[in-house]
């Protein structure tokens, strides 16, 4: 029994890590209908910038984090100026292609500025197993993962209040809902885009910090975006809680499947289980668990 709980818990924690990445996708998709292929690379870029500022310029941690946030906001502004502004009213597929381009640009920029070797990201986030859990419940769980879960919870609570209770949050939802109507009440699309890409950039930074602390800052960080895809399909592209719960389901699902089904099929289920789950969802509930129902009138 303890073993089962341990498997579920470690799945939950891994899931939260996926959720962190999925969250960035949801934010941008909600506000602009763009599937941002570059979200994973943004996490890599943010982590690289953070490490770069600390190593090359000797910034203390807090200053490096503020500096990186500033860089991500500047990046959002640039993306709006150089890319989005010129692609208003284009087909979603064109915007999607543009974000693929953006992914390569960011990757290259990260390489040029900070080099391509694997870097260690040490922000003093506790590492190793939690002794307390081990002593009291005999359950093995990483401290970093608990920390990541806590951070994700705070971030989601913050985003929920921001989206629901403030003028800018309402404006974000308004733009997501109806561009013309939003313009008619004086909401500026350009400002909203900069804000939403900035927020997505900050979310990417948090994801980058967590993943970077876990496995080092390296190119493969950008590939975690692929794991966020099934999370999005499960949770729905437009739902913040969906991204969180979708991440947890994927995390738990693949761990449990690996441990209990793996032995029967020769293992390594963990690598493809999430995608199979997503495929099943696409067949039966394409809008995801929490996404808005897609109704097309004919």
């Amino acid at each position: 029994m303890t073993f089962f709980i341990e498997v579920v818990l470690s799945g939950l924690m891994a899931g939260v890590m996926y959720s962190l990445v999925a969250l960035g996708f949801v934010l941008i998709f909600k506000a602009s209908g763009i599937f941002n292929f570059a979200q994973g690379v943004m996490a890599l870029f943010a982590a690289l910038t953070l490490v770069g500022l600390m190593e090359n310029f000797g910034f203390p941690i807090w200053l490096a984090i503020i500096g990186t946030i500033a860089v991500m906001i500047a990046l959002a502004w640039l993306i709006e100026r150089v890319m989005l502004r010129h692609l208003v009213n284009q087909e979603p597929i064109i915007l999607f292609m543009a974000t693929i381009g953006l992914a390569y640009v960011l990757e290259g920029m990260g390489d040029i500025m900070w080099g391509s070797d694997v870097k260690v990201l040490d922000l003093g986030i506790p590492q190793g197993a939690s002794d307390w859990m081990l002593d009291n419940f005999d359950i093995y769980i990483e401290k970093l993962e608990i920390f990541a879960a806590g951070t994700a919870a705070i971030m989601v609570a913050f985003l929920a209040v921001f989206f629901q209770k403030t003028r800018i949050g309402r404006a974000l939802r308004a733009v997501a809902d109806d561009h013309q109507a939003a313009l008619s009440v004086g909401i500026s699309l350009h400002t909203i885009w900069v804000i939403v890409w900035s927020v997505a950039g900050i979310v990417a930074l948090v994801a980058g910090i967590m993943w970077g602390s876990k496995s080092g800052v390296q190119f493969s960080l950008s590939l975690i975006a692929l794991k966020a895809l099934p999370v999005l399909i499960l949770g729905g592209f437009t739902s913040v809680p969906g991204a969180i719960i979708g991440g947890m389901i994927i995390g738990v699902g693949e761990k449990v499947a690996e441990v209990y089904l793996g032995p029967f099929v020769g293992g390594a289920i963990e690598n493809w289980f999430a995608y199979m789950l997503a495929l099943a969802f696409l067949l039966f509930r394409p809008q995801g668990l929490f996404g808005e129902k897609i109704i097309e009138r004919v």
């Binding site: 209770k165 403030t166 003028r167 308004a174 809902d177 939003a182 008619s184 009440v185 004086g186 804000i195």
Partner: protein, 263 residues
């Protein structure tokens, strides 16, 4: 009449021409709207009425002509300029934020009245919170005025059509506009709902002194409400004048009933 012509002109468009490719949608249209009046634009389908509103509020940019609003002349408007200078509007096919509640929709209408920056907003404390409360009060007044208290928290996508139209009017009113553009506010309504909406329009005009530009197909409503009526047909200006003048204008009658072409 003399008293009317003495009233200040709030908006004047001159020689507005708009085309999409080879299709001419508006052909050298000129008219003005006086402060405090209800000005109707009528015409058969495809006459260019909605396009005219879209030009005024900056969605469409005309190739020729000029727009003078509150004494400032521009070649064209931009939506946020129009909104921030006091032009609000509703849409022919309701354009509400469907996933949001009635209250939130009306609160979005107060977007430009709220000034606190992202910093306070993000923290959701201090000035941002105070501002939220003040504007909430203004929104509640509009909810009372339109008698939609019961649907305050309901997502508008789920409301019946007539109520959605009312919420949309509420969102436009929330901006406290000087000029309110209403694009077929009564389309698809039954006679009772039409009466309600007419009453709201008259009340908005008389109580708040809001100038109104109205597109409507129901001639009874137009003749009852309007101070002056502009008639468009195929992008051309057919007539402009008092309701009675327009009603008895032979050209207008022909456009509406259709006349056999003489060959």
């Amino acid at each position: 009449m003399t008293q009317q012509s003495a009233a200040e002109t709030i908006l004047a468009v001159e020689n507005i021409s708009l085309s999409f490719g080879i299709m001419k949608v508006l052909d050298s249209i000129s008219f003005d709207i006086r402060r405090g009046e209800i000005r109707s634009i009528i015409g058969p389908n495809g006459a260019g009425k909605s396009s005219m509103l879209n030009v005024i509020n900056g969605f469409y940019h005309p190739q020729e002509g000029s727009i003078t609003f509150k004494g400032e002349t521009r070649k064209q408007m931009a939506p946020h300029v129009a909104a921030s200078h006091g032009i609000a509007r509703t849409f022919q096919n309701i354009a509400l934020f469907k996933g949001m509640s009635t209250l939130d929709n009306i609160m979005t209408g107060r977007n430009l009245k709220m000034k606190t920056n992202l910093f306070w907003q993000a923290l959701h404390i201090g000035p941002a919170r105070l501002e939220e409360l003040e504007n909430r009060e203004a929104a509640e007044k509009i909810i009372d005025f339109l008698d939609i208290q019961a649907i305050r928290k309901k997502p508008v996508g789920k409301l019946p059509y007539g109520l959605q139209k009312r919420v949309e009017l509420g969102r436009a009113l929330a901006a406290e506009p000087e000029l309110l553009l209403l694009d077929e506010p009564m389309a698809g309504m039954n006679s009772e709902e039409k009466e309600d909406m007419s009453r709201f329009i008259i009340d908005v005009n008389s109580e708040f002194g809001t100038t109104i530009a109205l597109i409507e197909h129901d001639m009874g409503v137009v003749m009852d409400l309007s101070d002056r009526v502009l008639v468009l047909d195929y992008g051309k200006q057919l007539a402009d004048g008092l309701p009675d003048e327009v009603r008895n204008n032979q050209v207008v009658i022909d456009a509406y009933l259709g006349v056999p072409h003489e060959h």
